[in-house]
């Protein structure tokens, strides 16, 4: 008999075949990372119940690899095994889509066999769905049920679990229906799988689905069918194809007694990368615990409080906190609990309890903060809201008036501030990749069946903490599984995770490598620091002693209460709902799409009793107030208007299409003029949209490239569909225009050569005239000489003279265009100064103009009362900069110049937009920051991707404005 054993990342599957290859036994169970003992258990069971001592055996599955190697058992790679099984069992299949615990695979079986697995940074898989279900407080099966009831879909980042989580969390906090969120998560998984794995190859014909998630979740299968436009087959034994393939492929007989014996010997190796233990001795720990026990806030009794109180509510991403203080700032009452996906009923319960304890409670002020600030404020008629950074800072400063540095690690976000002269001098907020570290610890502890404090305690005395990396929680998660397989104990994993979270905060968010950079008086707070392993890891990693208030997790709420106290006039009465109103409280949620502009925001409308309402998901004030978004001081709006003015002019040489993406956002005036002058009717692919992106996503070969580049595929797709477009022009430009602001005038590799990717991957270009030659616009005279030769390859009878005239016009138009931008910059700055508005220089690349790329951040900035100019409208005012890096890219030289200029203007701040995956910006961001910091300016970076959590952006901007004293 033949045994096939498939040891995946979460489950172990086994089949036994008789000599006719018929299944005589099968089993499917979770192994909870105890793979060795579980495998031995399964084999012993088979031996006694089915096969007897001797059987043919092969192992497969991602977790089976190391084990098979170590025990000398034959290993069959799992995708290969799937193929073996499929060819035998269902030979008519064209494409197989298989989702497992951690991996996603697509197999093309016909027309050139090809097998693909997801890259390291993709999480559209079972573990991801489990995580999302946890977030929704559902089991995956319940999530499936819920998804079947969905009414609308939200766009959720499908790049990875961390990104998706930072999209899902705010949706939940804003009151989106779980049914809709669940269905959106499935849609995201489908997009990720297709976008990440198909890579330009169409999925058609007989499609078969395999693996746990699709087998168990009917809505997921339906989502795949919808997206692919097929009706795929979920075969019998869809869970066992890998195991079957291994069994079919096996040809070596083993004595199962020997195999189980060698498995049992293998378990003890414990070979994995480690870090130093957190504590070596109990004395060390005792001293540590005693030191931290001293950091307490003064408290009072709610029952005895006389005089009015101040309430602070912090509706965080994963927890809801409330603090009640008296006029002296003593803490009278506090509450800290998980938000369970909807903070509103929890806060209602907290407030009711307060009124119950003190029916005569006099509330002087009630203040909200955190992600749910707005909804809470509107739901319960709180007096004011305060951005969470300010709330945390206020609390830390109250606790330690001469604090130098505050580090707050919450469930989802990290917030750090440098403090000089009692004011915030620098702000560090995590970007998407670092988010969720705090709640990851919790989710992970719970998954292993522990409460967080218990889990943390295990780690304190771990002897060999596992090194689990620090990139993000998705990578940590798979490192944990690996470490477990290598024999790391729960203790060592607990300690390792704490160290990873700390390293992420230090090296990714703060980017500090020595304690001097933080200062002497450091306060650490946020719920995550209740975890003593994290606290210790932080002190060890930085080599400093820090202060953790005993209310570390409440500091946001405490700070909000303090803020309210400071704002409240003497004798003030809060407008907070009273006990009676809370009894009659009602809350209803509606999802609508705003059609006010091209952003088409997905709005969530919360309706409360008494006509109070709260709208979220908007990027501008339009749907809320019906007002204008300050367009007259929005340079981005102006630049978009300039580009829209380049309309097609009918010409004798036919229609020529330009994809409006990447560098065309700046060079459109140039190429439009050039080709219009030559007699072409120049059309562009127009504005980007979600639909445009989805239409092109199947042809993207590299899923880690930046989003603006990915969008190009959609633009090409649209041009190919446009009527009468005879040729598409999208040249390779190694060099950009030379503005003399750097040592060279390169484009980045992606901007320079993306036309090559388009040509090699966009199938719609087949049979089309696609012009993507290498062209040098940085040398105008050579351009005029070379261009006739290039054009002659595609068109007849374009003379050198015509080219020369067109080129001259093009260069002139480009110069005029840039001049208009500079002039408008000066006008906006002048107007803003006359009106006393702060000026934000929103710096990035020309293509960050695209609303689909910047997600309306320009409008968000203007809606906060600031005037907005772009880096290219002020860069010339500072000119060429000496910088600490090689200044060799045209667009990036402008960043340095703009930053230098901002440092000379007291009313200007710089906000840098960075596309996720932009490798060049790993260099520019540090340099721009250094330029600003040297002159005492705050650096603000906003990382943007396919989807961007605008809640986090909003916090960033509000923090900036708060720090500069508005």
């Amino acid at each position: 008999m033949k045994i096939g054993l498939d040891i995946g990342s979460t489950t172990i599957k086994c089949v036994v075949l008789d000599k006719n290859d018929a299944i005589v036994y099968q089993s499917y169970e979770r192994h909870f990372s105890h793979i060795v003992s579980k495998a031995a258990e399964v084999l012993r069971r088979i031996e006694s119940e089915v096969t007897g001592r001797h059987a043919v055996l092969a192992i497969s599955g991602s977790a089976g690899m190391g084990l098979a190697d170590a025990c000398g058992l034959p290993f069959v790679q799992e995708v290969f095994a799937t193929r073996v099984a499929a060819q035998k069992l269902s030979p008519a299949t064209d494409v197989i889509i298989e989702l497992g615990g951690e991996d996603a695979k697509i197999l093309f079986l016909t027309g050139g066999m090809d097998v693909r697995m997801n890259g390291s940074c993709a999480g559209g898989t079972g573990a991801f769905i489990d995580q999302m279900a946890t977030l929704l407080k559902l089991t995956p099966e319940q999530m499936n049920e819920a998804a079947l009831q969905s009414e609308k879909l939200y766009t959720i980042a499908s790049r990875c679990g961390v990104f998706a989580k930072s999209d899902v969390q705010p949706l939940l906090n804003q009151g989106a229906r779980k049914e809709d969120v669940a269905a959106s998560i499935f849609a995201a998984v489908v997009n990720q799988t297709i976008g990440g794995l198909a890579q330009g190859r169409p999925i058609e014909g007989n499609v078969m689905y395999l693996g746990g998630p699709i087998t168990f979740l009917s809505k997921l299968k339906a989502s795949f069918d919808d997206a692919l436009g097929v009706c795929g087959v979920l075969p019998e034994n869809s869970l066992y194809y890998v195991a079957l393939g291994a069994a079919f492929y096996s040809d070596e007989a083993f004595d199962l007694e020997d195999v189980t014996a060698s498995l049992e010997n293998y378990s003890a190796t414990a070979d994995y990368a480690t870090s130093d233990p957190l504590f070596r001795t109990a004395e060390e720990y005792a001293a540590f615990a005693a030191r931290h026990a001293k950091a307490t806030v003064p408290r009072g009794e709610l029952a005895q409080a006389d005089g009015p109180v101040h309430i602070g509510i912090d509706a965080g991403s994963t927890t809801v906190k409330a603090a009640v203080i008296d006029g002296q700032g003593r803490l009278l009452y506090s509450s800290y609990q998980p938000n369970s996906g909807n903070p509103v009923p929890i806060i209602r319960a907290v407030l009711l309890e307060l009124y119950q304890q003190r029916p005569d409670l006099q509330v002087a002020s009630a203040t909200a903060t955190g992600y749910g600030e707005e909804i809470v404020k509107n739901a319960f008629s709180l007096d004011c809201g305060v951005v969470e950074t300010v709330a945390h800072f206020t609390a830390a400063k109250h606790f330690m008036p001469d604090v130098d540095f505050v580090i707050d690690i919450g469930g989802q976000d990290m917030k750090c501030f440098k403090v000089e002269h009692g004011a915030i001098s620098d702000i560090y907020l995590n970007e998407a990749c670092s988010s969720g570290c705090g709640s990851f610890l919790q989710t992970f502890a719970n998954a292993l069946g522990y409460e967080v404090p218990e889990f943390a305690r295990l780690g304190l005395f771990a002897d060999r903490p596992a090194d689990l990396g620090s990139r993000c929680t998705v990578f940590m998660n798979s490192s944990v599984k690996q470490a477990q397989k290598d024999g790391a104990s729960v203790e060592n994993i607990s300690a390792g995770l704490s160290i990873s979270v700390v390293k992420n905060a230090l090296y990714k968010v703060i980017r500090a490598s020595s304690p001097e950079e933080l200062g002497r008086r450091i306060v650490v707070q946020g719920g995550t620091f209740y975890n003593e392993a994290v606290l210790r890891a932080f002190e060890k990693e930085m080599g400093v002693e820090v202060v953790r208030p005993d209310i570390a997790g409440l500091m946001g709420a405490f700070g909000a209460a303090l803020h309210g106290r400071a704002k409240a006039a003497p004798g003030a009465r809060s407008g907070l709902l009273d006990a009676a109103a809370l009894q009659n409280f009602s809350h209803e949620v509606k999802a609508v799409t705003c059609n006010g502009c091209g952003n088409h925001c997905q709005l969530t409308v919360n309706l409360f009793d008494g006509g109070r309402r709260f709208i979220s998901g908007n990027r501008c004030e339009k749907p809320v107030a019906g007002g204008k978004s300050g367009g007259e001081l929005n340079m981005f709006e102006y630049k978009r208007g300039l580009l829209e003015a380049y309309r097609p002019v009918p010409g004798p040489r036919g229609r020529l299409g330009l994809p409006l993406g990447l560098n065309l956002y700046e060079l459109l005036p140039f190429w439009h003029t050039f080709f219009t002058q030559l007699g072409f009717e120049v059309v562009t692919s127009g504005a980007s949209s979600r639909e445009l992106y989805l239409a092109g996503q199947g042809t993207i070969p590299s899923d880690t490239v930046c989003f603006p580049a990915k969008l190009l595929h959609g633009h090409i797709d649209r041009l190919c569909r446009m009527e009468g477009v005879d040729a598409i022009f999208y040249p390779c430009l190694t060099y950009n225009v030379n503005e003399g602001m750097g040592d060279n005038c390169y484009n980045c590799p992606v901007v320079a050569y993306y036309p090559e990717v388009v040509a090699a991957n966009c199938r719609c270009l087949a049979g089309k005239k696609f012009i993507y030659d290498y062209i040098g616009i940085h040398r105008p005279r050579d351009f005029m000489a070379k261009m006739p030769v290039i054009l002659a390859k595609y068109f007849d009878r374009i003379t050198a003279g015509e080219v020369r005239r067109a080129a001259k016009a093009a260069y002139a138009e480009y110069e005029a265009h840039m001049q208009r931008i500079r002039a408008e910059g000066a006008r906006v700055i002048g107007t803003a100064r006359a009106q006393g508005r702060p000026i934000v220089v929103l710096s990035g690349r020309p293509y960050h103009l695209d609303p689909e790329v910047n997600h309306g951040i320009d409008k968000l900035i203007c809606s906060q009362g600031a005037a907005l100019v772009s880096e290219d409208s002020v860069a010339h005012l500072a000119g060429r900069q000496q910088v600490g890096v090689l200044n060799q890219w045209t667009y990036h030289s402008r960043l340095y110049a703009a930053a230098a200029y901002v440092t000379t203007q007291p009313d200007m701040e710089l906000v840098q937009l960075v596309s996720f995956g932009c490798g060049v910006d790993a260099i520019t961001t540090d340099e721009v920051k250094a330029i600003l910091q040297e002159k005492g300016k705050i650096y603000t970076q906003i990382k943007i991707d396919e989807i961007t959590n605008l809640g986090a952006v909003n916090i960033r901007l509000r923090s900036l404005f708060a720090a500069i004293g508005r």
Partner: protein, 459 residues
């Protein structure tokens, strides 16, 4: 404008210690490891030139941890490793910090790799080693004020080392999987590294005639190795230059593949050098520029081609050895696939190498790159569909390397590629393999380092 310039120019942030002429005598120069064979030869060349250089050997988790600490974590993995390795070395206490300098290469292209040297300087400041000067090794005229000067004779010797390194790497890769006695090929490599080092130490080994003689001798000794040919999966390794070559960068990829019983084919370093030269000429062709400069490029190419042909001729004498393709032939492979103007990072060369491997029947290719490598979005992953359209059997897997990527994940994907390769090998075994070297003496004859045993060839 000028005001701002003066302000920033005065900033201490922009100061860094220069490598002065005097330091050539007083300082030890540390070089990060990339290609063990090549770099140990280059080390000898530089020593003979009077520089006290040392190629770093430190690896392990502390290198990565140090890199993560001092380099922006979104920067490419090679920068993180190279800088991590150097600071880790400075941390070790083995070096006199007042008399130590670091050397790093700089290609000067549009890829962010040209910025490594600046990132290194920033990292040194952060780590408290602001006094340690950094030497740029480049052929692009960057950092002209450095006390380290690449003179023409020195360039010639360094290039000689590159030729030898490529030849030893190529031949040992060809024979290692088939050797009758484990370790023979590596012993031979060590022997030749020692032998050539001795030559370099006396200022020899890099003239055209000496190279011809050495090439012949090297080819002969490898041809004489005892081997038994059995059909094995052949795997080509291409990719970002550091990750492709450096065992530290690619998690010991070659060792892993050897363990999987594969014959590894890693295109040589010379290709990259020539690619840089060709790009100079190509840039002038595409965008205009000095004709004189172009004719210099031409001369340089001819210089190389002569030596390439010498090496190929030496290897071709032995039917058991496969010579490397001429660079110009590799270059031709990219024709119609990707433009020669694509010159950032590995650019068109990476695509050409994949095509060249496919053309010579090496269907199985690992394209190794740092996570998020910009040029490889284009010339690596971006070209795979096109390569498959020409060679439908192309079995290419792209592997991303990153401080946090798990090795198992990488190896699992490589194993998938190997499964397909093995199945094809079983279905279409190559023609009956031939064994050779039967008459050769025992490999013991090849003496280890420094042993004055009879040399296989007279120099």
């Amino acid at each position: 404008m000028s005001q701002t310039q003066q302000q920033t120019a005065a900033s201490p942030r922009l100061d860094y210690p220069k490598f002065t002429r005097e330091m050539r005598v007083t300082h030890k120069i540390l070089i990060p490891q990339m290609l063990p064979i090549h770099f140990s030869l280059i080390e000898k060349v530089l020593r003979q030139e009077g520089y006290d250089v040392e190629v770093l050997k430190n690896d392990g988790p502390s290198v990565v941890q140090t890199g993560l600490k001092y380099v922006h974590n979104d920067t490419c993995y090679p920068a993180l490793l190279v800088i991590g390795q150097m600071i880790d070395a400075l941390n070790s206490g083995k070096y006199d910090l007042e008399h130590t300098a670091l050397m790093i290469t700089q290609t000067g292209g549009g890829c962010r790799a040209s910025n490594y040297i600046h990132l290194l300087r920033k990292a040194l400041k952060k780590a408290g080693y602001g006094q340690v000067p950094v030497v740029s090794l480049n052929f692009s005229g960057l950092e002209k004020d450095s006390g380290f000067q690449l003179t023409l004779p020195l360039i010639e010797k360094v290039l000689g080392a590159v030729f030898y390194g490529d030849m030893l790497m190529l031949l040992s890769n060809q024979l290692r999987p088939y050797e009758d006695r484990r370790g023979d090929a590596d012993r031979l490599v060590n022997y030749w590294v020692a032998m050539l080092s001795d030559q370099f130490a006396t200022g020899h080994g890099c003239s055209k005639r000496e190279m011809a003689r050495n090439f012949d001798a090297i080819a002969k000794t490898f041809a004489d190795l005892h081997v038994t040919r059995t059909p094995k999966v052949k795997v080509g390794v291409v990719g970002e230059i550091y990750i492709k070559y450096s065992p530290l960068g690619n998690n010991q990829l070659e060792r892993f593949l050897a363990g999987e019983d594969c014959e590894v084919n890693v295109p040589g370093l010379l290709g990259f050098v020539l690619y840089c030269v060709v790009n100079g000429a190509e840039t002038i062709d595409l965008y205009g520029g000095s004709r004189a400069a172009k004719s210099v490029y031409k001369l340089v190419m001819e210089y190389f081609a002569r030596r390439e042909r010498m090496m190929i001729a030496a290897i071709s004498k032995y039917p058991g050895l496969t010579p490397p393709p001429l660079f110009s032939a590799t270059m031709k492979c990219a024709d119609g696939i990707i433009g020669y103007g694509n010159k950032m990072g590995e650019g068109w060369l990476l695509t050409a190498e994949m095509m060249e491997l496919e053309q010579h029947g090496v269907d199985n290719i690992i394209c190794a790159q740092p996570f998020g490598c910009l040029p490889n979005h284009i010339c690596g992953k971006g070209m795979m569909n096109r390569i498959r359209s020409v060679y439908p059997d192309a079995n290419i897997v792209a592997i991303d390397y990153d401080p946090s990527a798990t090795r198992v994940n990488q190896e699992n994907r490589i194993k998938l590629m190997l499964s397909v390769a093995r199945e094809r090998l079983d279905q279409n075994p190559p023609p009956a393999p031939k064994s050779h070297g039967a008459a050769a003496p025992a490999a013991d004859r090849y003496a280890p380092f420094g042993n004055p045993a009879p040399a296989p060839a007279k120099i």
